[in-house]
Symmetry: C2
Subunit: 185 residues, 2 copies
Amino acid sequence: MNLPALQQKFVIHFGEMGARWGMNRTVGQIYAVLFLSENALCADEIVAALGVSRSNVSMGLKELQSWQLVQLEHQPGDRKDFFSTPDDLWQIVMTLVEQRKAREVDPTLTVLRDLQMDSDYNETNAFARGRIEEATRMIELFSRWYEDMRDVDIERLERLLTMGAAAQKVLNFKPRKKTKKRKEN
Amino acid sequence: MNLPALQQKFVIHFGEMGARWGMNRTVGQIYAVLFLSENALCADEIVAALGVSRSNVSMGLKELQSWQLVQLEHQPGDRKDFFSTPDDLWQIVMTLVEQRKAREVDPTLTVLRDLQMDSDYNETNAFARGRIEEATRMIELFSRWYEDMRDVDIERLERLLTMGAAAQKVLNFKPRKKTKKRKEN
DNA sequence: CTGAATTTTCAGTAAATTCTGAAATTACAG
DNA sequence: CTGTAATTTCAGAATTTACTGAAAATTCAG
């Protein structure tokens, strides 16, 4: 890997995280390199930075495009494709959230609804039915909230988050539930 | 797999999702079986339901315990371990969020802070430094919000979500940003 | 068109992860 | 203690996923 030591740490960390975020290591690393770069980079520059094969970078960039996490641009008089990440970090976060919702929660909601349409849904034991319905309601609640919040911009977000936290504190006149799920390892 | 057809669909779906959620297929399936079961189950019952090896179930249950997603109990006069999921779905969701935060965002915050402590941080190019600092701020913002919201219960949450969404609509007197990140595939 | 530059595809391989069965360990009733 | 039930560990096998290099396809200047 051919990068200043500090940036390399960042890139390696994002590689590890990428793996936990449904991409893979290389994809995470490509993203990290682009994220730290002021100007858009072409595939060969990424190859040089990461020391992986050209084809791997090509596939990684395709993956990032499918996540809409990366922008393709062209430079005058150059035939190569150049890639960059949005300047606005908040937009990046929202895209990530949108994509993960689409990949992780929407399909579940679809399955849950399908199950409830199933002809022998009512044969299923009542407890399982209750669980399925409860889960459906919970996901729908979040989905509706997400739809409402989707386009909020970052300045407004800071206000809303503060507001939400304050509201929570105000509403919370009863003593809090004992918090037993704090981890200590 | 030895389960009523409808429950089997549910279990298989959660297996696929489990894989996207940093567990693996079997772990997701074990969780799904427990989630749909009114009473706690022992390992052999899970083996029977899923048709995987006893040792695989053992490892899966250990993993679920490390996520604190599963409770171990004992039944009078029985030496086996029995496992169940919390009755309260909201608690399950919060545990998931807590755990994913601990696995996906906290380590990143640590790395970002470390980078900024690094002796040659100031040698790093200004753009990259800006990105790192911006990312740090964003994660800290969410972390603080999360801390405030962590122990809210579900009835209160419904109010807060509604409130948040309403607040967002009220604040949003300016026209919304053009939403260009909706995917259509 | 032609051909050089660039990107993409893909079959095969490498690497990583998951799963199993057998053996080891633990837990506890008698 | 002893013996049996139950759980865990772990080395190797099976499966899945990631990566590469070579070949194919695409793009576009001339």
